[in-house]
């Protein structure tokens, strides 16, 4: 029975989405969508446990045997990412009801929940499916709904940000589609396991190399890896708080999952890294992402934008782990994918808390906000420490693995770069902390007593989980190790 969950958890939000738009009543929609999200979370949790004990799950849709039918394949890596995505969706929906009610025009709230569920469907689908074309379909579902979600932002700049994301995202998705097409042309199959078996025979063909190139650019675009990152800061900064939180924690992570899948599973480690030597591109880009984005973050006036630039740097850490071509590096990458999702989620949630009482997310509007809202301020400080990678936060654990991997390879100059960028993170986090605690709050801020509601406890739950995983790192480390094993 449980193996049906593999498809059910994708189908449930897909079916729930149009129902949501039919209900079209803000509160009822919220209740419905949240219930669905928690159900999906329960399913991915049981899938995760099942995969841990019984090994990976293969599900043939409609009983059609692969490679002719579409197959879903949940292995340790997929189960881990599914768990992350569904957990963040459930938490976001539960926490943000009041925030959404305030930030989004009333008549659009039903559609908001619809788009949110569709986006969730897309992200889960990309991870669960073992069919290349299916991946493209879900990629488009998640992207199109994400464009709509971002465009709902209060700020009119959300429209241009969404449009930019639409252009770049479409180019990325198209490139991925071309890659899939080229592979299909040469192999006649779309099933990933089948592709994996057939590609070695034809790996000398130029069209396979071209497919590889199209995949690379497409995924880098979706991943927002430097220099293809320009769409991301605006999209995160001007989107509604709930959307920033959810996308920051999941969207780029799923793109990273796609990167693992395509380069390790479809093309295979040998072809990607030994024949085509992708790491010679990946490593310099990662380093540039880490350094330049962190520097950019320091000069941002808008804190949400600063967090977005910080995300770009953190993505650099994840891809850097891959480019080291070692087991520890890959584990560090997967671990950071998980840990960073929670840390950045928590930080965007603190921003949403502040937005209840401050007019915007500009630094000057946040003056003294940590004094008037001490719990939110403290949450930001702790989340920021995670971003820097201070011990007892989960950020430290992933950095420990990453630096271990770097030292293992003897790249001492890379150690210096990681340390340098950690110090840059210290600067951009502390700049905000000083505004929060060492500036006088404006009179309007002191007078504003608007309640934050459920968002604050949920922020702390996410935050405490990052601290827990920093102190007792067994769960994420074991899961990341199991996931890395799948890719080898």
């Amino acid at each position: 029975m449980t193996h049906h969950l593999a498809i059910l958890q994708v189908v449930l939000p897909l079916i729930a989405a149009p129902i949501c738009s039919l209900i079209n009543h803000s509160k009822a929609c919220w209740l419905f969508a949240t219930t669905v999200a928690w159900l999906v979370f329960a399913m991915s949790l049981s899938l995760f446990l099942e995969v841990q004990t019984g090994g990976s799950i293969r599900y043939e849709i409609g009983g059609w045997q692969p490679p002719w039918g579409i197959e879903y394949h949940i292995d340790a890596l997929a189960a881990f990412v599914l768990l992350l995505v569904s957990a963040m969706a459930a938490i976001t929906l539960s926490a943000f009801q009041r925030s959404i009610a305030i930030e989004i025009p009333k008549h659009k709230q039903g559609l908001f929940y619809t788009a949110f569920l569709l986006c969730l469907t897309g992200l889960l689908g990309i991870v669960a499916t073992a069919d290349a074309f299916n991946i493209f379909v879900f990629l488009e579902i998640s992207s199109l709904s994400a464009y709509a979600l971002i465009a709902l932002g209060r700020d009119r700049r959300a429209l241009t940000a969404s449009f930019e994301y639409l252009i770049m995202g479409t180019i990325g998705a198209t490139f991925i589609l071309i890659g899939i097409g080229l592979l299909y042309m040469q192999t006649g199959t779309l099933n990933i396991a089948d592709l994996q078996a057939r590609i070695p025979e034809i790996s000398h063909l130029h069209s396979v190399h071209a497919a590889f190139a199209f995949f690379t650019i497409g995924i880098f675009l979706k991943l927002a890896l430097f220099p293809l990152h320009h769409w991301l800061p605006g999209a995160y900064a001007y989107a509604p708080s709930a959307v920033s939180t959810f996308l920051a924690a999941t969207a780029t992570k799923v793109a990273l999952y796609l990167l693992y899948r395509v380069f390790y599973t479809v093309f295979g480690f040998e072809f990607s890294f030994e024949v085509l030597q992708l790491h010679y591109i990946l490593m310099p880009l990662s380093i540039l992402a880490i350094v330049i984005s962190s520097l950019n973050a320091i000069f941002q006036q808008d804190v949400k934008k600063m967090l977005a630039y910080s995300s770009l740097g953190q993505i650099g850490y994840m891809t850097l782990g891959i480019s080291l071509l070692s087991d520890v590096g890959l584990i560090a990458s997967i671990l950071h994918l998980f840990n960073h999702a929670f840390i950045k989620g928590a930080l965007f949630m603190t921003m949403a808390c502040f937005l209840f009482r401050t007019p915007s997310m500009r630094l000057d509007d946040l003056n003294g906000a940590g004094r008037t809202m001490p719990w939110v301020g403290m949450a930001f400080v702790l989340g920021g420490l995670g971003l820097i990678g201070i011990p007892l936060t989960s950020g430290f654990i992933s950095k420990w693995f990453l630096v271990s991997a770097v030292i293992e390879q003897g790249h001492w100059w890379l150690v210096a770069i990681i340390v340098f960028s950690s110090l840059l993170a210290l600067i951009y986090v502390w700049r905000v902390v000083e505004h929060l605690f060492f500036r006088e709050p404006s009179a309007a801020l002191v007078a504003n007593k608007q309640p934050i509601g459920a968002l604050l406890p949920f922020t702390w739950i996410v935050l405490l989980s990052t601290l827990y995983f920093g102190i007792n790192s067994d769960f994420p480390v074991q899961a990341a190790k199991a996931a890395a094993k799948v890719l080898q």
């Binding site: 990678g389 201070i390 030292i407 502390w430």
Partner: protein, 484 residues
Amino acid sequence: MMLANSLYLNFAIPVIGACLIALLHQHRRAFELVFIGTAAVLLWNTLRLFDLGQAAYFTNISPFSLIDSIPLAFHLEPLGLLFSGIASSLFLVTTLYAIGYMNANNEKHLARFYFCFCIAIFAVMGIAFAANLLTLFIFYEILSFSTYPLVTHKGNEAARNGGRAYLGLLLSTSIGFFLIAILWVWGSTSELDFVRDGFLQEQMPKEALIVLYTLFAFGVGKAGLMPFHRWLPSAMVAPTPVSALLHAVAVVKAGVFCVLKITVYVFGIDLLSSSGASTLIIWVATATMLLASLVALTQDNLKARLAYSTVSQLSYIVLGAALATASSIAGASMHMATHAVGKITLFFCAGAIYTAAKKTKVSELDGLAKAMPITFIAYTIAALSIIGLPPMAGSWSKWFLLDGALQAEYFWVAIAFIISTLLNMAYLLPVVTRGFFAPAKDNISGIQEAPWMCLLPLSITAVSCFVLFFLLQELHLFLQPLFN
């Protein structure tokens, strides 16, 4: 079991104290009592550990694992016990002083202040009992962060800038050097546990050892080696009790304690002296010792002068570690104790003078001893101890350090010790001579001694400077397990 429970209790006490203070934050008398009570119970339990611990040195106690196979682990050994003893006994004295000082100066946000103080002491306990490098590092960072709100307590521009230098320097050295050194050790030996006589034997080439030792010594920014010492004077924007306990005792001693511990239990005395891995640090520490003394001479602000004096005295301890002979290590360990007692007295006196007379500069102290005789007598005793004149405690530790330098055949270091002692006199004694012998410039008739809550602690610590002189034998015996 008994041992583990008592050890955990030493962590639980400050945390429980901190939580109670947070809960009672609206009742000043109540949380002040909790603050003192926490310190008293902590001291009692630490003394119990002295009894229990000596039979169980180097037994690892681990609640759970942190990363993969590296556990969060604690153990008892002479250095750690000594450090926890110093910290918890001076903590008790400081609680009294802090309450007297904060109330007399109408400071605000007291509950937050005492809360962070307790957390800082919790971190100090973690550093004292850490059984591996990662545990040590974690508590080292907790100490940096828990003291940040104390340094910036006033919340104004000066506090913010001081805090920036404080956290910036401590964090950049710890992440940039300390953590990297730990990862390097982990990468090349797959071991992080402190072992008697060290565990790096023969595993690394000599050049690597030099770099590694340098990384550690600079990475522990709290040890205040130049050029990474600027955080200490910056931290002087904090209220005086913080300067006294944390920046003369707990934080800086945590720094030199880390250096000592790494020297003895990671490198091992034998390896260090045979490989010469610490040569560079010996140079740096000697230079810091002399330069900081010279800078102290130029400082007119009393707290700043004491801060630079601390930088200089810390280098004595680092030198003792880096010289790596039995005498110098014993001298360094004793200097942790004697300098702590002496310097906390000096800071208490500086705070008492500020509280009673609102004076912060050395040049303003003329004739003040007539109005505040107890404070100035205490200052004199402590100053003599730090200079190292018998019959004050400081004379023994300096004796051993000097002996250690001669044993290691670093004659120029021995000469530097002597020059530094002369400099100590030059910057510490003007306060005494001005106070007692110079005619008063301003009207001092209205000035009285500080409140008894300030006076009592500084008298206790001043007397201890004298008493410790006679406890040398016990202290030396206590440290013996380090050397065989």
